[in-house]
Symmetry: C2
Subunit: 135 residues, 2 copies
Amino acid sequence: MNVQEGLNILKEKGYKYTGKREDIITYFSKEDRYRTAKDLLSYMEPNYEGISFDTIYRNLHLFHQVGILESTELNGEKHFRMKCDHHHHHHFICNDCGITKEIHSCPMDDIKGELNNFAIDDHKFEIYGRCPACQ
Amino acid sequence: MNVQEGLNILKEKGYKYTGKREDIITYFSKEDRYRTAKDLLSYMEPNYEGISFDTIYRNLHLFHQVGILESTELNGEKHFRMKCDHHHHHHFICNDCGITKEIHSCPMDDIKGELNNFAIDDHKFEIYGRCPACQ
DNA sequence: CTTCAAAACGTAATCATTCTCATTTACAAA
DNA sequence: TTTGTAAATGAGAATGATTACGTTTTGAAG
């Protein structure tokens, strides 16, 4: 997803445009990997002195809700990244730099038969390690 | 894993036997599902008045380290369960009661080719939903 | 240009978890 | 059985991430 698509989603749903919001989306658009609220705050602070934690968290939560960002939990911290807008897939995640690589096969395809009578809401498949650059 | 096996692991590694530790292992042995530190504390408090948070957390961490418990993170809280001692597998986890069902296929078998040059440390595959009893 | 709900601010609160340190306990060796 | 030592515990404060709240500011519709 690019910056413009993200802003369009906000507009469609009736949320306001602000410079901060554009900058947040721009940040994730450029980073293309999982980042924490703190990472984002560090990026925003030089441009918006006194920006509050609340603004960061509220926007992360909002962007996740409307589908601009996707999130996962690593080491007790929520991490966010720009939502990949093509077909369903999973990620390899580098423990050092947070960079991701898409995994195109989904294990759910193979196990439907094992879960008769169970209501399935969601699933998580992630692979952790170190990317070529971090080794 | 049963209670005796758990206690043996502690003994082998030179950790001391205490009644609390036996009770903690007994708890997880009976529960057979993911439980939080708070759940465990509620169970222990009637038997050990004044038991501290720290004892709970320290023992959970220790038991995880020596392989008596396995853990996962759900909704920002660490959850623990008795380690299944047979072959590698994954879990369906009920969002309501925490009960688990083993999934015997592992997606890692299918994707080795996709991750050449990546060092793989670990992976997580979990399915969330509601079990037959909770629907 | 006005108006008003939404967004952002500043700060305090909350929640899970970990740390510090003094005290107690388990248990192996004498 | 006594003793020494490392491990375990208790009590409470500290930490770190996240959320809540009352007030102020601001985007954008009319």
